[in-house]
Amino acid sequence: MNRDRLLDLMTARATEGLDSDELRELDPMLAAQDEFIEEELELAAAAADLAIQRRAGGAEALPSDLRAKVMAQSAEFVSRAKPAATPDVVPFPGKDAGEGRGDKGFNPMTWLGWAVAAALALAFVPWPIGGPDQPTGTPTEVVEDLPPTAAEERQFLLDQASDVITVAWAPPTVEGYEGVTGDVVWSNAEQRGFMRLSGLPAIADSDDQYQLWIVDPEVDKHPVDGGVFDMPAGAGEAIIPIDSKLAVDSPAVFAITREKKGGVVVSAGPLLVIAAVEA
C-alpha cells in the first residue's frame, strides 16, 4: 500500500473532493491499513475551517426566514421518522459513511451489464420522453408553513423546467420486483429529478438501502451515484428526490440496486429496476 498516495487521496477528499476513480482507489487502501481512520483528515479540515472562521469574526447569523424554514423542516423530519407516521411520499435520507465523497460508480467490469440491460430495456418498452404534459404524479396538498413535499417539488419541476424528461421504469424481471411501476423525471438544466415508485419491496427495517445509479457516458465512464433511499413498509407510491453526485448532462439509464446502508462505491448489482432514456 502506498502511504503517500493514501494521504494524497485523503487530503484531496477533505478539501476538494474526489472523482469516482479516486474513490474506487481510496476505499480499498483505507481498508488495508490501520494507521489512518476514515474521515479524520476531513475532521481536521473542519477544525481548521472553524479556526479560520473564528479569526475572521465568527459565524454569521442564520437569516430568520431560513431558520423558520428549517425549523418547519425539522418538524416534518420528526414526523416522518416516526414509524406510525410513515407517509406515502417518503423523505430522502442522508447517507452514512459514503456521504459527501463525490460520485460513486460501478466496477468497470459491470459496465457491459449496464449496456446490455439498457439495450434490453429499450427493446421492450416504448420510452416516453415527456414535457410538462406528462403524468404528474400524486395529487399535492399544500400545507401552510411547511416546505414543499417531494410530490410538490416534482410537480413544480414538471411544470417549470423546459427540458424535463419523463421516463417510465421498464417492467422489472428480477424476482420480487416484477410489480414495480413508476417513472423518473429529470431536468438537465435544473440538475434535479425525482423517482416515482410503486410496488418496490420495503427494506426500511433492514441493513440495506436502495441506491440509484445514473448512466451518463458523457460525464463519466462509470455510472454516477444518484443517492440511497429507504422504502418503508406499507408505503404506497413513493416520490424520491434524485441526489446525483455529479452533474448529469445526458442521462442514458437510471437503475436501482440494493446495497448495504449508506450505499457502495462499487456495486455488483443486480439491476432491480431500470429506466432507459430513448436516444
Partner: protein, 241 residues
Amino acid sequence: MAWQGEHAASFGDGWTPARPLPVETGRPTSRRWSGPRNEVESASEQGCAEESPLSVNDPLLSRVAQGDQAAVSAVLDRYGDLVWSLAHRFTRNRAEAEDAVQEIFIELWSNAGRYDENKASETTFVAMIARRRLIDRLRKSKRQPTTEELDKAVEVSEAPAGVAIETVDEAERAEKLMEELKPEQREAIRLSVYYGYSHQIISEKLGLPLGTVKTHIRRGLLRIRDAMTASRSGIGGEAMR
C-alpha cells in the same frame, strides 16, 4: 470557468454581522467553547422541546439519533449560524446557500447516530458534514472562482496578530497550531479549506508547484489531526508543540 452572475459578487455581499461560533457541548467543561451560552436555551424558549429540557451542556446528536424531537430543533439553534456561514461562504450565493442549509440539516439529523465523541467535538462533526455536502455541490456545479475572488482572498490573508488563545477547544487548538505553521503552509490551507479553491488554482496563484501545495495542505492537516488525536487521548496541548 469564471463565476457567473451572482457568483461574481464579492464575499461581503449580503453577509450579516458576525456572531460567535456555537457553544461546544457534549464534552467535559474544560473542552467547551467560551462563547455565549444561551444558544440552546433559546430553543427551549421557542417551544421546540417536547422531551426532557435541554441544557447548554447536553450533547445533541446522540439524542437526535434516538428520535428526541427537542434535540432535532435544538441542533438548528446551536449550529444554524455555523452551517449558514459555511454554506454562504462556499456558495457565494444566498439562494444556493439557503438550499444547501436545508440539505445539510436533513443530512445532519439523518446521520446524527454516526457522531463519535472520541473522534471529534460535535461542532467539528457538524462542520465536517456541512463541508462534505458543500464540496459535493461545488463539484456538481463545476464552478470555479474568478481570479478577482482569489486575489481578494490572498490579499486578506494576514490575520490579526496577538489573539489570545487560552482555552482548549478543538478549533482553538487548530487556530493556535495554524499560527505555528510555515506561512506558505498556512496560506495553502486557508485558501483550500476556508475558501474552497482547488489545489491547482492555489498552485497557480501562489506560484508554487502543485506537489508543493498538496504537501503543505497535507502536512498541515496531519498536524491538526495529530493534535486532535492527542487531545482526545488526554495529552492535551503537548501535541501542539
